[in-house]
Amino acid sequence: MMEAAFYSLTAITLLSALGVVLARNTLHAALLLGLCLAGVGGLFATLGADFLFGGQILIYVGGIAVLMTFVVMLAGRASELHLRQVNDQWLAALLICGVTFMGMQKIIDSFSNTRAPATTTATTAGVGRILLDEFAVPFEIISVILVAALVGAVVFSRPRAKRDRS
């Protein structure tokens, strides 16, 4: 059961991720991103991280992916079908990725016998507690960061200035 869930979610996640980076149409990519993020959420669920699962679905899938899609549609012309969505350095990038994966293999293999302990705890409460206690200051900071980001959004989306210096 778990294995089936894991492998199917993995397949969804990785395949849609490949779609995100390879799709010629940016809109497709954005939609696949949503799917991929949902798949990751599913993986969280298989790990028993239900708080994370909720957060992932709400924020990522419901927020980020949707926002991304909007922007893609907004910037319609830019996401038109394009001859090529991949630039000149794909070979180098591929090499880097391949080499890195082979390097990571050693680390990944070292955990091939690590299985999950039997007991799982409901994480939501625990995470909530830690956020308000040990990580209270970071929690404050994240709110400041979000405000700053909002200010940024406001600044950037002001109407264009009268004169263009370039």
């Binding site: 028993g48 924020i59 955990f111 690590t114 507690r129």
Partner: protein, 101 residues
């Protein structure tokens, strides 16, 4: 399921994201790639929390922060993208080359 499986998935996701970030010609594509990389980290955190350090919640908590930061970054990023698109009508990186040398 062993930890290796999850690590393999996260690594793969990370590298796919990396590949996307390095090769997409469209700024939005790069952004999406970076998002994938963030998610790979989150999988790691959740998996480590579950497999190696089940007694605490630090991993999950950190993942929550990462999700929030990613959201903040996306907000800024998308605002910038929109601004650039309005100014220049393009989102292709090779068209954005006033600054170089």
């Amino acid at each position: 399921m062993t930890l290796s499986h999850y690590l393999a998935v996260s690594t793969a996701l990370f590298l796919i994201g990396l590949f996307g970030a390095l090769t997409r010609r469209n700024i939005l594509g790069i952004l999406m790639g970076i998002e994938l990389m963030f998610n790979a980290a989150n999988i790691n955190l959740a998996a480590f929390n579950r497999f190696l350090h089940p007694s605490g919640f630090v991993g999950s908590a950190v993942a929550v922060f990462i999700i929030a930061v990613a959201a903040a970054e996306i907000v800024v990023g998308l605002a910038l993208v929109v601004a650039i698109y309005r100014a220049q009508g393009t989102l292709y990186t090779e068209d954005i080359h006033l600054l170089k040398g």
